[in-house]
C-alpha cells in the first residue's frame, strides 16, 4: 500500500523535475536527455497503472525511436551558435503567466470535482492479459482507426523524406 505511494511520488517527482530542467536548459542535448528522463518516468507511471503494453511501447517507441530522431537532428543542426544566444523570446513573461493561468484554471476545475473521480469500480480487475486485450480491441473494435493511423504513418514517412531531401 505504501509502496504504491512511494513509487508514484518517485516517478512524479522525476517526471516533473526532468520536464522543468528540459524547458530551462541552455544546451539542447541536455534538454533531450532530460526529456528522455521524463518519458521514462511516465513509462513507470504507466506500469504502475497496469498498462504493461503501453509501458513497453513508451520505452521502445518514444525513448528508442522519437528521441533518437531528435538527437540525430540536434547533431545535424549547428547548436554552438544558438547556445550562446538568448534562449527565451521577448514575450516570455506574458506567455509564462498565461500558461500558469491556464494551469490554474484546470487546477480549479480539478479542485471542484475532486471527490467525484473515485468512481464506481475501483478497477481491481483490469485483465492481466493487457497486451491481448489491447490487440483484441485494436483489431476488432478499432480496425478502421488502426488502418487510418497506418496511412498517417505512411504519409508522415513520405513527407519527412521529401522535406529532408537535399534537392527536390
Amino acid at each position: 500500500m505504501a509502496m504504491n505511494y512511494i513509487l508514484f511520488a518517485f516517478f512524479s517527482v522525476m517526471a516533473i523535475g526532468c520536464s522543468i530542467l528540459m524547458v530551462t536548459r541552455r544546451n539542447i542535448v541536455h534538454s533531450a536527455v532530460f526529456l528522455i528522463g521524463a518519458l521514462l518516468a511516465t513509462a513507470g507511471i504507466f506500469l504502475q497503472l497496469q498498462a504493461e503494453f503501453l509501458f513497453v511501447v513508451q520505452i521502445i517507441l518514444y525513448v528508442g525511436g522519437i528521441m533518437v530522431l531528435f538527437v540525430f537532428v540536434i547533431m545535424l543542426v549547428n547548436l554552438d551558435v544558438s547556445m550562446r544566444l538568448v534562449q527565451f523570446n521577448r514575450q516570455k513573461w506574458a506567455a509564462g503567466v498565461l500558461a500558469l493561468v491556464l494551469g490554474a484554471q484546470v487546477l480549479f476545475a480539478l479542485w471542484i470535482g475532486r471527490g467525484e473521480l473515485r468512481l464506481p469500480a475501483p478497477a481491481v480487475d483490469v485483465s492481466p492479459k493487457n497486451t491481448e486485450a489491447i490487440g483484441q480491441a485494436l483489431f476488432q473494435h478499432y480496425m478502421l482507426p488502426f488502418e487510418i493511423a497506418s496511412v498517417l504513418l505512411l504519409v508522415a514517412m513520405i513527407g519527412a523524406v521529401v522535406m529532408a531531401k537535399r534537392r527536390v
Binding site: L79, V106, A133, V162
Partner: protein, 106 residues
C-alpha cells in the same frame, strides 16, 4: 475506500498530468529554439497519455490505452515531419530560432 490493488485516486494522476502539461505549454510559448518547442509538444502529448491511462485504469477498460497508442502514433508522425521541416529550414536559413523564421512577414 482503499482496495487492495489500487489505492491512488485518479486525482493525483490528473494533477501530475496537469503539471507536465503546463510545463510543456510554458516550453512551447517561451523558448526560441524550435527543437525544444517540438520536444515540449511531445511532453504535452505525454501528459495527455497519462490522463488516458488513468481513466482507462479507473473504468477497467482498455479503450483509453488504445487511444493512447493512436496518440503515440500521432506524436511519431509529428516528430518526423516537424524535424524534416526543421532540417529543410536550417539548410536554407542557418537558424533554428522561431523568431527568426519570418520570411512570410513583410
Amino acid at each position: 475506500m482503499a482496495t487492495p490493488q489500487s489505492m491512488i485516486a485518479p486525482d493525483y494522476y490528473l494533477l501530475l498530468s496537469l503539471a507536465l502539461f503546463t510545463i510543456g505549454v510554458i516550453g512551447v510559448l517561451t523558448r526560441r529554439n524550435v527543437i525544444v518547442m517540438l520536444m515540449s509538444i511531445e511532453l504535452i502529448l505525454n501528459a495527455v497519455n497519462i490522463n488516458l491511462m488513468a481513466f482507462s485504469r479507473m473504468w477497467g477498460s482498455v479503450d483509453g490505452q488504445v487511444f493512447a497508442i493512436f496518440v503515440i502514433t500521432d506524436a511519431a508522425a509529428e516528430a518526423a515531419v516537424g524535424l524534416g521541416i526543421i532540417l529543410a529550414f536550417f539548410r536554407n536559413r542557418e537558424t533554428v530560432l522561431a523568431d527568426e523564421m519570418d520570411m512570410l512577414k513583410w
